[in-house]
Amino acid sequence: MGFERSDTTGGQNTALALKILVAGGFGVGKTTLVGAVSEIRPLRTEELLSEAGQTVDDTDGLDHKTTTTVAMDFGRITIRAGLSLYLFGTPGQDRFWFLWDELSQGALGAVVLADTRRLEDCFPAVDYFEHRSIPFVVAVNCFTGARAYGAHEVSRALDLDRGTPVVLCDARDRDSGKEVLVRLVEYAGRMHTARLLDSVG
């Protein structure tokens, strides 16, 4: 192996992995976006609900005989040896919010995919990331046939904080997806710098 032995903490020469979440309503194209930019076919990982969700998903005396699995699709982009980006599509249903907390821990940022025909579907995701001060961009997936709105109109409709980028995209298109990610990483960098300055001043 090329890097130094390290048991727990990431040393200078250890592999570095960054996490980006892709959120949004059901069927808005989260997995499509992950698949368009990922170098691997999107993989699926499952979490058992009975494990973390006992209190959330009360099965009312069913004696935990039901175990629901929540699937998360994810992809990977290798920037260079020892530096990779992982993209996770968040589970769409509201009752799996507890998984978001774990997913978003240590995340670099998030992409909130929106469909202008049902913009309200992305409200919960916008709220979630705003409250936790996780940098996010809103990517409007421009479905064919959907009436086109400008980025500014979407930003106003979502009542976004000033500076939160809104990008029009095609989730199926690799270059378009790359652009969304570039905007997110740039924005995350700006937020990071601003926080550092705040903490000094």
């Binding site: 032995r5 592999a15 058992l48 990977r76 920037i79």
Partner: protein, 142 residues
């Protein structure tokens, strides 16, 4: 997983009564946490492994004979790590096991000195912004 073989039986209608309960929809025949001996948390260290924690085979691992002490799922994880460093999420997908189960099994391997785990660095503690610059340039170059 083992339940796949149930699909190759006789077609619908010809199935014997009582044999239908173990089809693919019914889920795996082995309850997931049976593979961990019922444990749901990993090791005495108790650190929750992030989905992007990176698992690498330890070059100084004890001799291969030690591996035989592990179960088949442990060995599957080890063989997945053999090709390249794997994230917890990739191991879960590759071994077709729930994340919670994979976490416990990796905890076993970690304790036995078979693997090392690199935990992700939170963005707020990134060594410098050059890394984000690298990510942006890398994305553009894809």
């Amino acid at each position: 997983m083992t339940h796949d073989t149930a699909d190759s039986g006789p077609g619908p209608g010809q199935e014997q009564q009582g044999s239908r309960w173990y089809d693919a929809d019914a889920g795996p025949l082995v309850r997931p946490y049976a593979m961990t001996g019922g444990r749901t948390t990993s090791g005495p260290s108790g650190v929750l492994l992030d989905l992007i924690a990176l698992v690498t085979l330890d070059a100084n691992a004890p001799a291969a004979s030690e591996e035989s002490l592990f179960g088949p799922e442990h060995r599957t994880l080890l063989s997945l790590c053999r090709t390249e460093t794997q994230s917890v999420a990739e191991l879960s997908a590759g071994a077709d096991l729930p994340v919670g189960v994979v976490r416990v099994l990796i905890g076993d391997l970690l304790e036995a000195g078979q693997v090392t785990v690199a935990h992700p660095v939170p963005p707020a503690q990134l060594p410098d912004e050059k890394i984000l610059r690298e990510v942006i340039d890398g994305l553009r170059a894809l």
